[in-house]
Each structure stands twice: as C-alpha cells, then as structure tokens.
Amino acid sequence: MRRKRFLRRREFEFHTELAVAVWSGYKADSIETLLGGLNEVPGSSIFYHVWHALFRRHRHTPEAWMNDFARWALHGLGRKTLAEKLACVDMVLLRTRSVAETREHLIKAVREYQGEGEFPGRVAMGDELYFMEMRSFVMPTGIRAGTTGEFVRGLQRLGRNTMLHHFIEGRMRDGGGLDDFSRWFIETGRKDIARQIEVINPLSADLDHLRKRIIEIVRRAG
C-alpha cells in the first residue's frame, strides 16, 4: 500500500480549556422572564446552557441530550411542548455557526410557543433558571502534531476538554462550521481524513468515545 505522506507544513497545536461558571445576573421564573433572559444575556451564557451543557452532562440517558433551557422547560415549568421546541435547537446546532444563531433559534422557539396560547405562571421559589456564564481559559498543551502518527499519539494523551475545545467549539471559530481537526487535515492535504471526521455527529456519543473514534479514523488512514 502506498504510504501517504505529507509535508510538515503546519503543525497542529493541541489546546485544552478549563472554565468556571459565574452568574450573569439574570434568572427566569416564567416564560416571559425566560424570553427576557434569552434576549439579554451575554453570548457566553447561551453557549454555557446549550453547547457546553450537552457535553458537560451525563451521556447515559436520552435525558442528558437536552440543553439546559429545554430541561428547565420540562422539569421547572412543566411544559413538554415548549421543552420539545427548545430541545430541537440541539438538532440544528451542527449547522449553527455562531451563538447569535443559537440565540435566535431559542427565542423563536419560545415566541412560537407563546403564540400557541398557553400561559403558564411562575415557578416556585428555588425552581428558577439561573443564567450562568463561563469564564474560560484556553491553554496550549505543548503537544503538537506534524504527522498522522503524532496526531494519534497527541490525541491519545489528551481528554474531553481538548475535544470540547477543538471538535465542538472549533466549529464556531471563524464561522466556517468546521472543527479544528478537519480544518487542519484539509490544510495539510488529507481531505480523506477530514471527510471522515467532518461527518461524525458530535451528539452521537460522549467526548471520550468521539476521541477514540477520531483516533481510529486517523490511524486507519495512515
């Protein structure tokens, strides 16, 4: 088998990211205040409750595959229809290029629900949704890859936070919709690998499984 080799043009520099949550100052206890919060909170709050929530939580049950707003609509407000509408935002996430788009989808979902005429009251004290924001710190790991072998070895050493940074958040970087791994393989002449990574549905498994899957793809491609 002909070995595919490529020039060491640009190394892939693995980063990782750690974060802590801070209260945005907004909370919701009704549909109206939910809508108000969705309109007003900083983008990092939308990111925290949608994108980060999906990968922060347990992956063992279907319950886990639901953003925080949908979960609150279901368990806090007790509104299944609204919860479904908000959960559907997760389905368009893969095509969403920015937090602004995610925010628009959420607001649209709530407005549509309001338009259907149900007007639930306020939740009990203690059941409010607190809009949190993230304060994140990205760090170079010092691990770089110039070849597929180095890429595999690098990714084997790293964990979920690296996957979150490159494979999930990378899609929103620069608006291209591509994760960092795929982008690098394209730039370095390995579109065959990029195509296989690109089509992985990030919601299909937890980050550890996704990491192993990507490692296997790159290893097999040689």
């Binding site: 209260w23 319950e63 304060r135």
Partner: protein, 424 residues
C-alpha cells in the same frame, strides 16, 4: 508522588495535566485564606485539603485564622442562624463586638498577598483593611444565604460589597443585591480521606459485625445528624410504607453533641418511634465516625438523604461516590447533585421515598446503573481536584475580569483570538 498526582486514578491523568497547566499562570501568587478556626467544621476541613493542593501546584497559599472571643463567636453563631433564615435577636452591642474583634485582627492580613480569601461571615469585618491593600479580595460563602434575615444581611452586605467577587455553592444562593461577580463553585469530597477511601473486606466485616448488621441482607442507610431538617421521621415513615411490600433493614447513623439539646430531643423521639422494630438499627455517634460511615455507605443497597432543607449535602456526594443508588430530598444542593432518574432519585414525600426504595430493591440492574452514573457525576464535578481547578479559574477570572475567553500562554494572559462568534 506530588499531592495532586495522587488523585490521577480518580479524575484522570489528563485532568491533572490540565490543572497544572492552568496553575502555571498563578505560579508564585500569594493567596491568603482567612477563616475563624483550623479545627472543626466544614470550612476547616476544606482548607486542610485546598491549601496544600494550591501549594502543590505552585501557588504560595497560606491559611490564617482570626482570634475571636466567646462573645464574638456567640454573635457569629447568631449570624449563621440568621443567614439561614432563622429569627435571631442580635443587639447593636453585639454588632459592635463583631466590628471590634475584626478591627483588632486587621494585622492578620498579609500586606503582600495577591489574593485575600475570606471564608464565611466571621472574618467579613476585615475587609476595611483592604483600603491600603493592593491585592484582590474574594468572599467565599459556604452557607445558603438565599433566605437570610434582612437586618443581618444588610449589616453584612455592606462588607461583602467591598469585595472583588463572591463565591457560592449553588446558583440559588446568589443574591440580586450584590453588585459584584458571583461565581458558583460547589464543594467537594476527598476520595483519599477516611470517609471516602476504599475499605477492605475486613474493615467492612468488622464494623458491620460491631453494629450487628447482617451482611447477607440489603439495607437502606441514612447517615445524618439527628436534626429535624434531615427528616429522620420521614425516613421512618418511608421504611414503614416499604415494609408493606418487603422487609428491609433501615440503618440510621446519626450524630448529636451532648450540648445539643435539640439533637438529643430528636434522638429520643426517633428511638421511641423506631421502637423495638428489629429491622431498624440506630447507630448514635458512630466511632470512628468517618470510617464507620464509609463502611456503612459502601455496603448499603440504597443511601437516602431525605432532607427537608440542605445546604449542599456532601453525604449525598459521598453515597454517589461509592456508586450507591441515592434517594435525596428534593431540596437545596441535593437537587444540584442528583440528576433525577439518572444518578439517583429526588423525592418530596416519605411515600415517594418508599416507592423509589421498592423500585430500586426490585431491580438490581437499575440500582447498578444509577450507582455507576452517580459515581461518574461525582468524579467529573465534586472531587477535590475539581475544586482546585475551579478555584484557580476564579482567581484568574477575577484577576483578568471582563467577558471573553482568555489564552494562557508562556508570555502571559491574553484575549483568545477567533472567539468572537462564541460571544455574540
């Protein structure tokens, strides 16, 4: 082996690696923690672990206590109760005692500290000292202040507002009336402690035999103070309801201090109601407490914490860490920890508790699934290395305020390029 690395088996090598990377940006930073006592109480227990861990990753962490008087500690005990929502009579004279003792302790503050962390209300009155201090001041609140008595809160919040940031256990404990950033950092357990380490079969056998708990039968455990807020009588009622369906032992391991009249009263009432029920084992003041509770949790079929009110509920965390299915009262921090139906169950009534107990006992696959998910949840969120990571992030976030993602590189802390779309 370095201290943090001892936790690699629990949180993974990658997490240790990442936390050390994060700490590089704080290498050499002087962080002074101040609280009221080095022995006894949850704060002392936490700092006993956190301070050495901070040092282990290169932060110059110190721990100082202020010197109080009996009159001062009487006032702060009243503050504690009032902040939990109780009505307390606190005179102006007592408020002056609080201020005077704090003023007399101004010199405990390290003038060169980059960060001064004040824990809970006792040392809050030290904050006027920051007038000539260049460091960053952070208040760490370890209690639920959501329903605080208004007068006490007004008195203390004038101090809190002088801080650069505050930390709370849960979002629900944040306050609308504080104009400073409020971080949410839940507490943690130490998997290496006597309460949470692995126990040997011999240890299990020894302590179960000591308390005459059969090893060939399932039992449900609540390990909690004899305190009405822990709803011991609700647990008894749940056990009674369950017994219509099947016979299962209830083990209640509880503490009370000799000088705690309410604890004694609750214990006496519990013993009267438990009666001569051969299926109820009551263990007052287990000794040694941590190891016995550890053994009891590890061998329980179900751990229950049916609190009516609970700050965070580390006993729930402990049960989850031991991969036990946990049934928790639908309150406070228990709701934050238990993902209902995934890592345990949240219940509102003894009936609900009885139902879930029956369900779990009848379905070992369910029990195993809940337990495994519970342990994973703790490993990812509520162990001491997570706590350290959160603290490091808070220190950096307060040092580099504002929105946006930061890049920590060898030459400093910068805004991370290409992140704008995430922020919009």
């Amino acid at each position: 082996m370095a201290l943090l690395e001892q936790y690699a088996p629990f949180v993974g090598e990658q997490f240790i690696f990442e936390t050390k990377l994060l700490a590089q940006a704080l290498r050499g930073a002087r962080v002074q923690h101040v609280n009221s006592t080095k022995t006894g109480g949850g704060v002392a227990e936490i700092l006993t672990k956190l301070v050495p861990l901070m040092r282990d990753v290169g932060v110059d962490a110190q721990w100082t206590t202020l010197k109080g008087t009996p009159a001062f500690f009487d006032v702060t005990k009243s503050f504690h109760n009032a902040l939990h929502g109780s009505r307390e009579r606190i005179s102006d004279k007592q408020l002056r005692v609080y201020e005077q003792v704090n003023s007399a302790n101004y010199d405990v503050i390290d003038r060169d500290a980059d960060f001064v962390i004040i824990h809970d209300p006792q040392p809050l009155g030290l904050v006027p000292r920051r007038e000539n201090h260049l460091g960053t001041w952070i208040w760490r609140c370890h209690i639920d202040v959501a329903s605080a008595d208004r007068r006490v809160w007004q008195f203390l919040s004038k101090y809190i507002r002088q801080f650069d940031a505050a930390l709370f256990h849960l979002p629900q404990y944040t306050r609308d009336d504080l104009p400073i950033p409020q971080f949410v950092v839940p507490p943690s357990i130490d998997p290496l402690s006597e309460k949470n380490r692995d126990v040997s079969a011999a240890e299990s056998k020894r302590y179960l035999a000591r308390y005459r708990i059969p090893t060939d039968e399932p039992y449900v455990l609540q390990a909690a103070r004899f305190d009405r807020l822990k709803d011991p009588f609700g647990v008894l009622e749940a056990h009674r309801l369950l017994s219509h369906n099947r016979d299962v032992r209830l083990v209640y391991a509880g503490n009370f201090a000799p000088d705690d009249p309410e604890g004694m009263e609750v214990y006496d009432e519990f013993m009267r109601k438990a009666g001569r029920n051969r299926l109820i084992t009551v263990i007052p003041n287990p000794d040694p407490n941590d190891l016995v509770v550890n053994v009891l949790q590890r061998n329980a079929s179900i751990v229950i914490q049916k609190s009516i009110r609970e700050g965070f509920g580390l006993s729930v965390t402990e049960g989850m860490w031991k991969a036990r299915p946990v049934i928790g009262g639908n309150t406070g921090g228990i709701r934050y920890q238990i993902v209902d139906g995934v890592t345990g169950y949240l219940v509102n009534t003894p009936d609900g508790a009885a139902f879930r107990m029956g369900q779990i006992l009848a379905n070992p696959t369910l029990a195993r699934s809940l337990g495994e998910a519970a342990k994973l949840r703790v490993a990812e969120n509520f162990l001491v290395p997570n706590y350290l990571k959160n603290w490091l992030c808070v220190l950096l976030a307060v040092k580099y305020p504002g929105e946006g993602v930061r890049l920590l590189s060898g030459d400093g802390v910068h805004a991370f390029r290409g992140r704008t779309r995430r922020e919009v």
